[in-house]
Symmetry: C2
Subunit: 255 residues, 2 copies
């Protein structure tokens, strides 16, 4: 669990349910890297020294708040974005997930409550960094951290990210979620790199193009890349309506 920096302060003012929280693993893709949006947390140790570390965006739910709604709220408070791809993926309820002194102290400091047991529901969000960076300021000392360069985090947040990545990989295999991480216009190579980075594998370029262009829901635009020192690539867009119509209800099984 946890509480978003500024949301935490709000939490102590407004009414919260201190037993249940929501945490968001916000994935973004830029400069050919998968990143996670983390928040700087400041806390004071027993010697009065101020420390910083990072945590997932999250918050306690309010007494009558739907979990999905809480996740959307956290995302919107942080980034200003709404209508973002957001999926519940797992609950973390280990009784010792809040046991380090710094975590207990930080909760006391931000909520005013002595809290030692919180069950958190984890969501992952997929956002397009470049567009959202352009239009919305990232507030609350949030930072994009490369997925494989994540420092020690608050609570069990590293584990939550690991599991979130697993779920993202699973989703990427079975649904067209990759587009959520790309701008509306993208090149096939960008898409392929996204798959390679998230699934951590190499894909054959010709087979990849054959596969994705074989679907009817990837539509080529008239526009090409400009100013690149090589043959410019066409831009494509994802046509969700066509996907919805054509989606094959897969029946095979592998075990």
């Amino acid at each position: 669990m946890s509480t978003a920096g500024s949301s935490a302060e709000k939490s102590s003012a407004r009414s919260i349910n201190p037993h249940i929280s929501v945490d968001c693993v916000i994935f973004g893709f830029s400069t050919n890297q998968l990143k996670v949006l983390l928040i700087e947390r400041a806390y004071t140790d027993e010697s009065g020294n101020r420390h910083r570390d990072l945590k997932l965006p999250g918050d306690f739910i309010t007494p009558d708040e739907h979990l999905d709604r809480a996740a959307a709220r956290i995302l919107e408070e942080l980034t200003g974005l709404h209508d973002i791809y957001l999926r519940q993926f797992e609950v973390f309820g280990h009784p010792n997930r809040i046991s380090r002194k710094i975590d207990l102290d930080w909760l006391l400091e931000t909520t005013g409550l002595q809290i030692h047991r919180v069950v958190t529901t984890a969501y992952y969000a997929l956002i397009n960094i470049s567009e959202s960076n352009r239009d919305f300021a990232i507030k609350n000392n949030a930072r994009w951290i490369h997925i494989s360069r994540i420092p020690p985090l608050a609570f069990d947040h590293l584990e939550i990210i690991r599991r979130g990545l697993k779920h993202l990989q699973e989703a990427l295999r079975n649904e067209p979620v990759g587009f959520e991480l790309l701008p509306a216009k993208f090149t096939i190579r960008q898409l392929q790199t996204l798959y390679e980075v998230i699934l951590d594998c190499k894909l054959d370029n010709r087979n990849f193009r054959k596969k994705v262009l074989g679907t009817r829901y990837l539509v080529q635009l008239d526009e090409k890349q400009a100013g690149v020192p090589h043959k410019p690539a066409y831009f494509y867009r994802f046509d969700r309506n066509t996907y919805m119509r054509d989606r094959k209800d897969y029946i095979g099984f592998n075990f």
Copy 2:
């Protein structure tokens, strides 16, 4: 959320966390049907009349109980079974999921507390009905109900079962979980029927045999069916060790 019949009574005695519960969708397979284990719930309406309906086995967690542990406890209290396949699959946190008068009244009656908001973590369990019936008594007025003949249930338990079935179907496609629902010795036809019933489709017998016998982890026993009025089928068993060694780390993607 909910509380298992007898566990509910216990809950009011022992210390509970009344905000968080665990519910178990316990699947079983017998007479070629997929079934769910449900518990009879009795409640008294305002006119003092006694009513019965059905609910999922579930309970509040205790203050320091791991969610997984709570699910295992519920399962064991009910069936006496342990080391059962048990997977968390989803959290149900809608603020109105406990809003019907009968549900509110029943909670008051069984816990002594006025409870109107509970976030529940749902697990599904896979058990082999015949073996467990033989060795363990099912307590607490529990009944196996055919998956497509489920009457109106307490709380949002019907929705939880629907979602649990979806997750079971998904698991069945990707992992060898079907064996959890069968006796240690089973015939290929039993296995095929299990797939057909759970995935709700017809499978070609020759192709099915080819596929499952192509794996190395389905091993034929010397034993055959006896007393059947037709050619007796060989029994097979699932070799989990071989599966663990041979499991192909599937890399393909379909979207």
